[in-house]
Symmetry: C2
Subunit: 525 residues, 2 copies
């Protein structure tokens, strides 16, 4: 009597759900499959106790005070800090202990609304909420048919469409892949347009140049107008969320500061993310990486609050470790998960939304390595309490490549996280005591009333996992998951239907873009 | 400035560790790589609060009282229950509320020692400890060279050797695969001998017939003698741990009860495991499955305590869900993880060690599906607080197949769990403030003193993950993880060296087996 047992015959006739309780459960479950974002009903997982968390905060303050942060090639930033009372020496800013925390806690919102052009897709970032967004920034794409090649705008559109169709993704993301067939200095216009045209989910603006950030805001205003004031906050509507990476260790550069300032002043959300390959941009230890990440992120978030008190900011953490043998980044290892659990707790203590995680991997292809590494990042991210999760779908090869198959595989995993984060149903229907009474010892539950009433919604159903018998799997071609994923993304793209967009708005967007593009020459660098 | 960034050049010259602190850390880490078992330094993750856990306990009592448990074809068991005060009607036993819990808590140990024939491999099961054991019970094996075929005793020996060589596995397991080339009624002798001969880690006894259980105990006595009394407890040494599966729902059969009685009376450990494919052997809900599992397991554990108060018992939970479409078992889905978190907490409240989890999957091959599903079981098992984890390495195809490649891939993942469960190092070396001071803004950490002193032990190193550049990976054959795993298990088997076994003991074991085999005819059924 070993653990493995043969498959069980399912019930032949499938009665329709009968109990009211079960019908309600079924409706809830269907609704949940396209919720605009997740509101968790499970606890957070934390690895540090009060003492450990306090120590990390103290060390972050030590870094800010003793070592300081560079704000490079941005005299305005230095002036702002001087004015606020920091000790500015050259481009190095030293902060009195507690200063950054105080500035942040005085005005940064605990959670905020990022509007989508379709209000049903609007998300709330922070609190007990989690928003899933696709991967960001790959110059390459990969699929089983073509292998790996440079990304094109067509790929960008494809991924926007796939993200739009994925119930488990709440966000259209940003630079979902780099359309390298378009001029570097104009492609942001096509990217923002694609998000607005082929999806109605919220999305991210350009951060590669302050002017491109301004273009992103302008295009969003055209799409969202005329009502651009948030009726709840009385502030400009937050239509964009934007990824500001810190040049760790302890350096903000002019490009990122420029974009940050544009977005902060327009009340658009900024994610301030120390980008850390531990061992290279931070110490080789978890505790060192955590303290440094907190210090760097606090400096950036405080700067946002100085520019525009109340502007939405997110504490970001991207921490991988590098291989001490090759210097290459590694993913899905235990140390970054420990950083993640620690940083999420520190963000909650600070009182700001938290960004981290995703389906990160170093693998070049959607194989077992990719899956192990992705699962070992996605699940910790969900348990830790990430509020805005970038890189949830498509990530391959340390972010250098966006995988078509990987995208739908990851979206499947993201779907499972919805069920996990919904927690345990303790209603009478969930307790199912009547089912146990009805069936009794030695019988099976497949045909019982409770199972019949709940089978439509019972258990997460993966579109990609093969659970068939060995014989059936073999008869169907003995496929691996990547092969099935290949068929799925093609089917989805074939079935894609554009969300409605008012023709006048579409025309205005295209107009703005055409004028902008005509106003300066293309550049490919 | 997107998240993906190019690889970082590692330091060219690698100085030897210099700081004392770091040297100590290095020694600890090296020792940790072959610890006999894990003692966790991270918190448990729980999904139910006090109210939810109490509700589950109440429902389990309701099941035990109202519905009852069948003890089939075992008049002795029924007599024991009657004597203890239960309400026995035919083969059905009804238990007054709280009766099973009281019996268990009166005498079952919170944790116990399972001795290995090499004392350095002895494990403590329970408390904050986790013991990893290979998969159990597959009739088939699979590898990239041969595909899938029936398992043979040679495969059994191979997996015992691989488990012996895996630093991340603490246990040799039991029916690591079914040697179907040997007679059904004698193969247990060859299996137990293989565990004793080719490994010195602790292992599991046969449960397919009471006499085979008795043979397992006898062989262990020969190998362990002459001192068979545990000096700490004064009871017979626990040399075996054994898997007793409940025929869920709510039924114990004569075979399992027979083996359970042999082991319980010999003070050998029993894992009482309701084997549940939810939707078939339990309700389609998490809360229903949890209450039923608790009820069934408590009845079996209490029975052990009635037979031999103080005999080691483990609360087991094996819960998968079935596909409501095909009736096939599914793995790595969110519902079984919720069961796992709940059951681990309930076992702690009851005060007994907990068995669950592993690297479970439905996939037939070591692809992304296998990895996603395995990671989504292994990680929750570690966070939940499993004390004895069966099926950690090799499991494929719902347990029908033992994979050679999967085995080494899973052992790699199990290694990562050691690092995860060690938690965050908050020592001065872990905090690494001096490293941050030394490096400062805009520099990199690769060459700094702290990195040099710690690089040997910094970060978990996977033997199977490819973290190289795309170009290097392609130049090396563009392998997937399964292909690299194929090379690794072959290398390991080629390098295997038998642990020492006293010739007199070996002879005595072989003698016993020869006499036993000669005493009755072979049977293949």
């Amino acid at each position: 009597m070993n653990d493995p047992q043969p498959q069980v015959e399912p019930s032949r006739h499938r009665a329709r759900p009968s109990g009211r309780d079960a019908k309600r459960a079924a409706r809830t479950a269907r609704a949940a499959s396209s919720v605009p974002y997740i509101t968790r009903r499970i606890p957070y997982y934390e690895v540090l106790d009060e003492e450990g968390l306090t120590l990390m905060e103290r060390n972050a303050d030590t870094i800010l005070e003793e070592i300081g942060i560079d704000f490079r090639e941005d005299p305005e930033a230095l002036a702002v800090w001087k004015q606020a009372g920091a000790d500015v020496q050259g481009e190095r800013v030293h902060f009195p202990r507690g200063m950054c925390r105080t500035i942040i806690q005085r005005s940064a919102p605990h959670e905020f609304t990022q509007h989508a052009r379709n209000p049903a897709r609007t998300v709330v970032i922070g609190g007990r909420n989690t928003v899933f967004a696709p991967a960001y920034g790959s110059p390459f794409v990969r699929n089983l048919d073509e292998g790996r090649r440079y990304a094109r705008i067509e790929d960008f559109r494809n991924f926007v469409k796939l993200a739009y169709m994925a119930n488990s993704l709440h966000h259209s993301g940003g630079t979902i892949c780099e359309p390298v067939d378009l001029p570097v200095n104009k492609r942001h216009l096509d990217m923002v347009y694609s998000h607005l045209k082929y999806s109605d989910k919220p999305f991210m603006g350009s951060v590669t140049h302050p002017e491109r950030a301004a273009d992103s805001v302008e295009l969003a205003r055209i799409a969202f107008g005329p009502e651009l004031t948030d009726p709840v906050t009385g502030r400009p509507k937050t239509m964009l969320i934007n990824l500001i990476n810190v040049n760790s260790p302890m350096t903000y550069d002019a490009t990122m500061l420029g974009s940050l300032k544009v977005y902060a002043r327009a009340n658009q959300a900024t994610i301030v993310t120390p980008f850390i390959l531990a061992g290279a941009m931070s110490p080789v230890t978890v505790a060192g990486t955590v303290a440094q990440t907190l210090a760097e992120a606090m400096a950036g978030m405080a700067f946002v609050q100085l520019l525009n008190p109340g502007a939405p900011v997110v504490l970001g953490s991207f921490a991988s470790s590098v291989s001490m043998q090759s210097g290459a980044p590694t993913f899905g290892t235990p140390e970054p998960a420990l950083v993640l659990y620690s940083m999420a707790a520190l963000a909650r203590r600070l009182g700001v939304p938290f960004r981290s995680g995703g389906s990160l991997c170093a693998s070049k292809i959607p194989d077992a390595q990719a899956a192990f590494e992705s699962a070992n990042t996605l699940l910790p991210s969900c348990l830790a309490g990430v509020n805005f999760m970038l890189h949830v779908a498509g990530w391959l090869e340390g972010g250098l490549s966006m995988g078509y198959e990987k995208f739908v595989m990851d979206a499947d995993q993201a779907g499972m996280m919805h069920t996990l984060m919904a927690g345990v149903d303790l209603s009478p229907n969930g307790q199912a005591l009547d089912a146990i009474r009805e069936v009794g010892p030695g019988k099976h539950f497949l045909g019982c009333t409770h199972t019949q009433a709940n089978f439509e919604t019972a258990f997460y159903r993966s579109p990609l996992a093969d659970n068939n018998s060995y014989e059936q799997w073999e008869a169907e071609g003995a496929t691996d998951m990547a092969r099935r994923a290949n068929a799925l993304w093609k089917k989805q793209l074939a079935e894609y239907v554009e969300p409605p967009l008012e023709p006048a708005i579409d025309e205005a967007l295209q107009d703005f873009i055409a004028r902008k593009k005509a106003s300066f020459p293309d550049s490919m660098v």
